[in-house]
Amino acid sequence: MMWKMKRLLVFSLLIFLLFSFFLLKLNFAQEVMEEEQNKITQAEENAEKIVPSPKDIKESIGIYVFVVWMWIAIIVLIYILRLKIKEVDRLFYIRFFSAKKK
């Protein structure tokens, strides 16, 4: 009987500890969050200067990728335009269009 009671006690204590840990953790987390939120709102209120930048790592990587792709696209387009320029200049010098009119 005693043994059973002891076991129950240890068991319930364990469960309590477990839950209390969660409880503590939950409370703690909430407090931290609140503190952080307070800090953020304070920071926002005290914000002397807003320095814009990408919000998170995802956005900043997105931007780097965009810049790289943009320059690649520009280089490709310039290459195509160079070919086009050569072609239209050639057509102009052999008087392709004016010959056709006559």
Binding site: I50, V51, P52, S53, M70, W71, I78, I85
Partner: protein, 358 residues
């Protein structure tokens, strides 16, 4: 009927009513001379590119911007922090304005030095001078809109400068400020200038400017013209447009890269009662004027230093405006002296700007 036929029919339908083929024919026949100074011909279209970017990003910003005393700074802050991609749009608007004004200066100086304002292009030059004023006014009014400490002080100084003009000055200041002092009314008024009044003027002036250029064709620099050789020419469409596209693409790439990596920041909302912060500074294109105001003494020959500067600026502006008539013999000593003045102006502006940054 096949698709091509339909397209042809639609084209001829519009052509009958619009006369597009006339424009296309004109553009094909428009010739751009090719010589060693041809590079300057690209500056005009570069300005146009940045102007178009300004219009588009401006439309976007106005969706969220709020031109009132309480909300202006907050709404810009909101654009920069909450609105997705807002900080990039603002950054592009801000950088593109700087690029545009830089190219306006380059365009203007190139025309001054190559003397492209010679007869019959006097009116083109004059409309250009007005365009310069409107562009600078865009820059000046736009600088106030974020309503932070820097922009408030810059606007206070900028709107107080006309006060020194005899007789009308006080009224000009009042008109700009919407009252005796810079207040929330000034902000709303500047917003009105920036998005309503100045755009109307710039579109009219641009139309006149571009029409005159098309009517008279491209100017040849004096040095090239006097050689009397046959100059190589290229059609505007498509040969020159392709070349311009290359320039546009490069400029766009530079603009976006700079705008993404160096976005402008936003100070806290301006306080009308707070003292001016240390190190106030206008936009870079007004720095030469700012430095002049700083170093001029309080009194010169019985008049105020700033009255003196304002009168000086007005006289210079009038001379500048009537430059095509003053420079009526460009090849002779007078013309050479006027070209020399252009270089002096560049040196003066650069020295003053660098000095103000020290």
């Amino acid at each position: 009927m096949n698709l091509l036929g339909k397209k042809k029919r639609a084209q001829s339908w519009f052509d009958e009513r619009f006369g597009i083929s006339g424009i296309v024919k004109f553009l094909r026949e428009k010739k751009i001379p090719q010589h060693k100074h041809s590079l300057w011909y690209y500056t005009g279209s570069a300005i146009m590119l940045f102007f178009v970017i300004q219009v588009i990003t401006g439309f976007m910003l106005v969706f969220y911007y709020n031109p009132t005393l309480a909300e202006a700074n907050k709404s810009v802050g909101r654009i920069m922090t909450e609105i997705p991609m807002g900080w990039i749009i603002r950054s592009i608007h801000s950088w593109s304005s700087s690029f545009m004004i830089a190219f306006v200066f380059i365009h203007l100086l190139s025309i001054w030095i190559t003397k492209a304002y010679r007869k019959p292009r006097e009116l083109t030059w004059m409309s250009g001078v007005f365009l310069l004023c409107v562009t600078l006014a865009f820059g000046f009014t736009g600088y106030l809109l974020p309503w932070d400490d820097l922009s408030l002080s810059a606007t206070k100084v900028g709107t107080d400068i006309p006060r020194s003009i005899p007789i009308v000055g006080v009224w000009v200041t009042k008109l700009l400020r919407g009252g005796e002092d810079v207040t929330g009314d000034t902000l709303t008024r500047f917003f009105g200038f920036h998005v309503c009044i100045l755009p109307v003027f710039i579109f009219i002036l641009l139309a006149v400017h571009v029409y005159l250029i098309q009517k008279q064709g491209m100017s040849l620099p004096l040095a090239v013209e006097s050689k009397k050789e046959k100059i190589q020419e290229l059609p505007f469409w498509p040969n020159f447009v392709y070349r311009e596209s290359v320039v546009w693409l490069i400029l766009l790439g530079i603009l976006f890269t700079v705008a993404i990596f160096l976005p402008p920041s936003l100070d806290k909302s301006a306080d009308l009662m707070a003292p001016a912060p240390e190190g106030i500074r206008p936009e870079w294109y007004f720095l030469f004027l700012f430095q002049a105001l700083k170093i001029f003494p309080a009194k010169i020959l019985f008049i105020n230093g700033d009255t003196f500067i304002v009168i000086l600026i007005l006289v210079e502006f009038l001379l500048f405006f009537f430059l095509p008539f003053l420079d009526n013999k460009p090849a002779e000593i007078k013309g050479k002296f006027i070209t020399f003045l252009a270089y002096v102006t560049i040196v003066y502006a650069v020295v003053m700007t660098v000095w103000s940054l020290l």
